[in-house]
């Protein structure tokens, strides 16, 4: 086994405190380019509607998104409620006759939505930083002015929360990265990165679940199966689960 899975509640006092700190850091970093957006509801053709929560990118907003998702997924005409990073996309089985009514209902549901406390599991992922499978570690070092060891220590210090799944099967958007290691996305995406790539894109970090292209900076590699289409619940991780990266090796 390359990972340890233990069940835990994210309401643990120590954990929660750490995460609040992480969330504040993330929120601070996002403010540089996002400046606390207003609530926004928009249409994606006749296929879907997008709800974007107002305010900071933090775990509190995300927990309310999880509540909203559970509430609206049973509404008539809704095929799926898909959480993003402090936003929610509704896809339609039938396009609503009057999207204005749905818009109003979403605003009401958001106003009433409390923070969903998910009893997530904690997954520890051993990471080999740098080397062949972490080709952009030095780009992060160059951008941040930190040393290799400092970047690695800052990256594996937080307990990250899975905010949402997206991008490709099993991929997790993680909240809680230290903004000191934030590094812009690459100008040219890299093709054919193997699954398990640990990477930084702007203020976000994540682990790819399968081989594919990526515009993020790949700093390391982990071995873990995130997705099995033969399972009823195909993804290994779900929103509210937590990831801790453990340094297995640094190749510099």
């Amino acid at each position: 086994m390359t990972c340890i899975i233990e069940h835990a509640s994210i309401a643990y006092a120590g954990t929660a405190g750490q995460m609040r700190l992480d969330s504040e850091r993330t929120a601070h970093a996002m403010k540089q380019d996002d400046s606390d957006p207003p609530l926004c509801i928009s249409m994606l053709g006749t296929t879907a509607m997008l709800f974007e929560a107002p305010g900071a990118l933090d775990l509190r907003a995300q927990r309310r998104i999880w509540t909203l998702a559970r509430e609206v997924e049973s509404w008539p005409g809704v095929r799926e409620a898909v959480p993003g990073v402090t936003n929610l996309m509704l896809t339609f089985s039938t396009p609503p006759a009057d999207p204005g009514l749905l818009d109003a209902a979403l605003r009401d549901a958001w106003a009433a939505a409390g923070e969903l406390q998910i009893e997530g599991k904690v997954v520890e992922l051993p990471v080999e930083y740098g080397g062949e499978f972490g080709p952009h570690l030095h780009d992060v070092v160059a951008h941040t002015g930190l040393s290799v060891d400092e970047v690695v220590q800052l990256h594996c210090a937080p307990l990250y929360t899975v905010f949402a799944l997206g991008s490709h099967p099993g991929y997790c958007y993680l909240g809680g990265m230290d903004p000191r290691i934030a590094t812009p996305r690459r100008k040219v995406p890299v093709l054919g990165l193997p699954g398990g790539a640990v990477s930084i894109g702007g203020v976000q970090t994540g682990v790819s679940a399968s081989t594919g292209p990526s515009g993020w900076n790949t700093i390391g590699h982990t071995s873990m199966s995130f997705f099995d289409p033969m399972r009823d619940n195909p993804a290994t991780l779900a929103p509210g689960d937590m990831i801790r990266f453990r340094v297995e090796r640094i190749v510099s």
Binding site: E52, M89, A97, S167, A209, S210
Partner: protein, 335 residues
């Protein structure tokens, strides 16, 4: 049962798409031209959710390993079964050993080979469509290769065909001759593909002259266009400020504008989430037109409203209802 004779043809097994797994990061995949696949299934009396083979590169050749009814829909291809011509949007009957050659299309870019009963591959997460990134669904989660043998489900109780229809086959009018083409201003050239677009969240963030160009100019479909998305070339679309979005769900048809100002239309194999600003969405009812737009040709965008976009879906449904009625006449299910 058929054998693929062409190599590296990028053909995939697709049905109407995989719904309900976006929250696991699984995009819908499915036929680029779902309307063409629907008609292929209707002509053969297949279930609506039957899978076919989407073919984007020509010529494409297969050998029938048993007697099989089939239909080719989508792009207007010159197809031959042995020495005989095969009409598009028409049913045909192959005998064991026949070789089908689908030639380069005169117009359009993708065609669909439907087999009686549909292509028999396992249903994975509710669909037979190929999920290329996840490497599952379809034929072993990948594109078809030379030598692959693909099974058809077959139809145990095929509806009795009208006697004449059995010999000559029967067909229908392609949708482009039945569903009115949207009107572009200024008027579109015949070679341009016209699709309707509903403005999206960041529409108002673009410079007025960029928005004017978006609606009035032709947008070239570049060679970097495929099932994942169409990268377009045209005037640079400039935003009034730098827009960085948090990652959120997107659907096929969404037009994103990366920082270089050249739009990308996300399509069936696109990742189901993204963060680039969205200027609009090509409406669901026009995605079949987009699927048939050739590389090197131009697209034209026509601004639409939500009620018009819903009405456009009804136009597509009306066309399918007409095809269904026609098929009922030949298959005699009304008698």
């Amino acid at each position: 049962m058929i054998e693929i004779l062409s190599s590296s043809a990028l053909a995939t097994v697709q049905d109407q798409g995989r719904e309900g797994y976006l929250r696991y990061g699984v995009g819908t995949a499915g036929a680029m031209d779902r309307l063409a696949l629907s008609v292929g299934n209707l002509l053969l009396g297949n279930p609506e959710d039957a899978a076919g083979i989407e073919i984007p590169m020509f010529p494409f050749r297969i050998r029938f390993l048993e007697d099989t009814a089939f239909a080719i829909t989508g792009a207007d291809c010159a197809a031959r079964l042995g020495e005989r011509s095969v009409l598009p949007w028409w049913t045909a009957q192959a005998s064991k050993g026949d070789v089908l050659t689908i030639g380069v299309p005169a117009s359009g870019t993708r065609c669909y080979l439907s087999l009686a009963g549909g292509v028999d591959v396992p249903v994975v997460l509710g669909s037979r469509s190929t999920q290329l990134r996840g490497q599952f669904g379809g034929y072993n989660g990948r594109q078809l290769q030379k030598g692959d043998v693909v099974q058809a489900v077959g139809l145990e109780q095929a509806a009795p065909l009208h006697e004449l229809a059995r010999e000559a086959g029967f067909g229908t009018v392609p949708p482009e001759f039945s569903i009115p083409r949207p009107l572009a201003v200024p008027e579109a050239e015949a070679t341009e593909t016209v699709v309707r677009v509903l403005p999206a969240a960041e529409y108002d963030c673009y410079q007025p002259e960029s928005l004017a160009a978006f609606w009035s100019e032709g947008w070239k479909v570049t060679p970097q266009s495929d099932r994942y998305g169409y990268r377009l070339a045209g005037p640079t679309l400039s935003a009034v400020r730098v827009i960085e979005k948090r990652s959120h769900g997107i659907v096929p048809g969404v037009i994103q504008v990366p920082h270089n100002g050249q739009p990308i239309i996300q399509l069936r194999d696109a990742q189901p989430s993204g963060g680039y600003p969205k200027i609009g969405t090509v409406i669901e009812a026009d995605l079949w037109r987009l699927a048939q737009a050739r590389i090197g040709t131009k697209l034209r965008f026509v601004q639409t409203t939500y009620p018009e976009a819903v009405a456009a879906l009804e136009d597509v449904e009306r066309y399918l209802a007409k095809v269904r009625n026609l098929v009922d006449l030949f298959r005699g299910s009304r008698h």
